[in-house]
């Protein structure tokens, strides 16, 4: 009787797979001409790109006018981009109606904020001192924008605009919606039927309606709901409204983290005799929140994009101040350049955030496994 062939591979020495055949030619064959269909796709897309790319580069850069010279731009007759519009209006686009002579202040505030954000991006900076360290940054940001101290001329929030306003709004909304979202997520998982029911109702209701209705609530309803003596300015109303909106989404993000934890964590903590609050604060939340940090970055990204909606209720964020700039009848025909400029700012910021989120996911994953 023949013995069965040994298929386990136990006797053989484990070897690395052979290295892929290198060289640019092999890469081209593998990626562009591996089959007839592939070659056909290469031909079609390649031809389209060969037609489009030189024209796009010429329109965007080579033949474009960069100086804020209206006559030169008109002479182009749309055959090339007129970056002169951006050169002429960049301060209005970036800072909105903020007093022209004082625009170094929003610039400094934005630079400070972005630098602080970049410094606290690495998990190595996530220490106990990080939250208190942010307090002076936030204080300096608002003092610079608002003025009224240290000889800075006061500037009313209604005159704030542009990129600093977008950043303020994003930061306020995300910072305020995270604790609110945590409370809602815990409420949705509560054993008390009333708390659970109301939390679920709130989350589902808010997630079911578009942000614009929440902005309508903020700008039309808040003045009616508040007592007659109390007035919130438009920016604060919109920030509160967006916070309520974002909190429902944050709650679902946090709930994802809570559900990812094994039940045993909470049960073990309870068995040790910890109170409910202590179980959540010391055992559940620290683990759940670390799991969802990359999702928090994604929420930051979507809030950043969502702030562009406030222009609908007449707040001049980056999008709104571009529209202010386009209100100049002389330059309004160069809208495409304006939207490309502002779109590029959003795109670059969001790409950075989403890359960071991916990096964080891998980094934290390694850290959690270790």
């Amino acid at each position: 009787m023949a013995t069965a062939p040994d298929l386990s591979g136990a006797g053989r020495d484990a070897r690395e797979p052979p290295p892929p055949r290198g060289g640019p030619l092999a890469w081209v064959r593998r990626n562009l001409f591996s089959s007839w269909a592939n070659a056909a796709a290469t031909a079609v897309v390649g031809l389209a790109l060969a037609w489009l790319l030189p024209r796009a580069v010429a329109w965007l850069f080579l033949r474009a006018v960069y100086a804020p010279d209206y006559d030169a731009c008109r002479a182009l007759d749309y055959r090339a981009a007129c970056w002169g519009f951006v050169a002429e209006k960049h301060r209005l686009i970036l800072f909105g109606r903020y007093p022209f002579a004082e625009q170094w202040r929003p610039l400094a505030a934005t630079a400070l904020f972005v630098a602080a954000l970049a410094l606290s991006a690495h998990p190595r900076a996530w220490r106990r001192w990080l939250a208190p360290a942010w307090l002076p940054v936030v204080a300096a940001f608002f003092l610079l924008l608002r003025g009224g101290v240290l000889g800075l001329a006061p500037v009313d929030p209604s005159a704030w605009g542009g990129l600093p306003l977008t950043i303020v709004l994003t930061a306020l909304v995300v910072a305020a919606s995270i604790p609110l979202g945590i409370v809602l997520a815990l409420g949705r998982r509560s054993r008390m039927p009333l708390v659970r029911g109301l939390s679920t109702l709130y989350i589902e209701l808010v997630r079911g309606v578009p942000l614009i209705t929440v902005l309508f609530v903020a700008s039309f309803l808040f003045p009616l709901l508040l007592p007659a003596g109390l007035r919130l300015d438009a920016l604060a109303r919109v920030a509160v409204g967006m916070t309520f909106f974002q909190a429902a989404y944050m709650a679902e993000v946090v709930r994802g983290g809570l559900q990812a934890l094994p039940r045993g964590q909470g049960e073990a903590a309870e068995a040790l005799g910890l109170s409910w609050w202590k179980v959540q604060r010391r055992v559940i939340l620290p683990q759940a929140l670390v799991l969802v940090i990359p999702s928090f970055v994604n929420s930051l990204l979507s809030t950043f994009l969502d702030t562009s909606l406030v222009t609908v209720v007449s707040i001049y964020d980056l999008t709104g101040s571009l529209r202010l700039a386009l209100g100049d009848p002389q330059w309004r025909n160069f809208f495409l350049e304006g939207y490309l400029f502002v779109g590029a700012i959003y795109f670059a910021s969001c790409l950075a955030m989403s890359r960071y989120s991916h990096w964080l996911e891998r980094h934290l994953g390694r850290w959690a496994r270790a």
Partner: protein, 354 residues
């Protein structure tokens, strides 16, 4: 420190919490601070009290503010003459019609642009999603670029830009672009042949006249801008869903099917697609709902959807509460209806476990 279990809490039960709850259902104990259920009851009563007081205070403020501003309340205004014009829509409407009719016209427009948007975005998204999995590096990078750009630029910016493209860069209606025979694109919008019934099936073809294009189906620039903006943005999200759905099907499935001798076409249709669909359908539903919700951005470019109509109504009569309640109920109903429809479909593609 947690307090000692009280007399009513079934402390003898070894199962702890579950035991405590079971004994509560069996024997309704008297209220006591020292049981978990007693404290929960007290907490919920307090919570309800706070909510009621807050709600009452808000209601009183609102009533006071409405009285000061001399704004009426209630839905009686829906029967009154709206007085504003609506440029387009499937629901017949004149400025003499009621507010209710205006809201219906707005809802018709919302549904029209959302349904068409879904019909355009789904195949486009599937194409781009599969393109991201292509072995061809050009197709792959083009698809990736499509997704990254559309997902990282705010929809509002895209809509404004599309709107200006459709209203500024296109030729005048007197000399439109001819996309196909009797299909004209101009600043006035898109004109298409319309199937009509005149004693038999026929096509009403738009014609160029001295005053522009007339006849056929006419789509306004506002509608086109919103449709294109919604469809392209949503296609990027759908592409990501399709890509991850296909990737979620284990490679061994394809290999095993090929090893069984199934032709490639059948492998895709019978093995990969059914399994991928199961992963794709639930997030696809929420993308459809997102598109519908995003259609509310119509208000930014002046397309008369239900939110724009509500906005106009609020500016006319100040009845913000009622109008906002109307919009919210419209979107919540759309949500519920879509969720029910997709749940039915999801049951059909779901795994049948034996």
């Amino acid at each position: 420190m947690r307090r000692r279990p009280g007399p009513g809490s079934g402390s003898a039960s070894p199962a702890g919490r579950a035991g405590a709850e079971r004994s509560r259902t069996v024997k309704p104990a008297r209220f006591s601070w020292s049981t978990r259920s007693g404290r929960a009851l007290a907490f919920q009563a307090g919570f309800l009290l706070v909510l009621t007081v807050a709600g009452w205070a808000l209601w009183r403020n609102t009533a006071h503010n409405l009285a000061v501003r001399q704004i009426r309340s209630g839905f009686a205004f829906l029967d009154q003459r709206a007085g504003f014009d609506i440029g387009e829509g499937p629901v017949p409407y004149t400025p003499d019609a009621s507010y209710l009719r205006a809201f219906a016209a707005g809802l018709g427009n919302t549904l029209r642009v959302s349904l068409l948007g879904i019909l355009l975005a789904t195949p486009l998204g599937a194409l781009v999603g599969l393109g991201r999995l292509s072995r061809n590096v050009l197709v792959r990078s083009l698809s990736t670029g499509w997704v990254e750009v559309l997902r990282n630029v705010p929809l509002v910016i895209q809509l404004f830009a599309w709107y200006l493209v459709f209203t500024q860069l296109l030729p005048d209606p007197t000399g439109p672009l001819v996309l196909a025979p009797h299909v004209y694109l101009s600043k006035g919008g898109l004109q298409l042949p319309m199937p009509v019934w005149t004693g038999g099936p026929a096509l009403e073809r738009p014609e160029i006249t001295a005053f522009g294009v007339s006849g056929g189906i006419s789509l306004t620039p506002e509608f086109l801008a919103l449709l294109v903006g919604l469809a392209t943005t949503t296609s990027a999200s759908i592409a990501e869903i399709v890509r991850s759905g296909v990737l979620a099907v284990a490679k061994g499935q394809t290999e095993a099917a090929l090893a069984l001798g199934l032709p490639h076409r059948l492998v895709i249709r019978r093995v990969v697609l059914p399994q991928a669909l199961r992963v794709i359908v639930p997030p696809l539903t929420s993308q459809f709902l997102n598109l519908t919700k995003n259609s509310s951005l119509a208000v930014a470019i002046g397309f008369p959807d239900v939110v724009s109509i509500a906005n106009t109504a609020i500016n006319q009569n100040g009845q913000a509460l009622e109008c906002i309640l109307l919009i919210m109920s419209v979107y919540l109903s759309i949500n519920l209806a879509t969720a029910a429809l997709m749940a039915w479909y999801n049951r059909r593609v779901a795994l049948v476990e034996r």
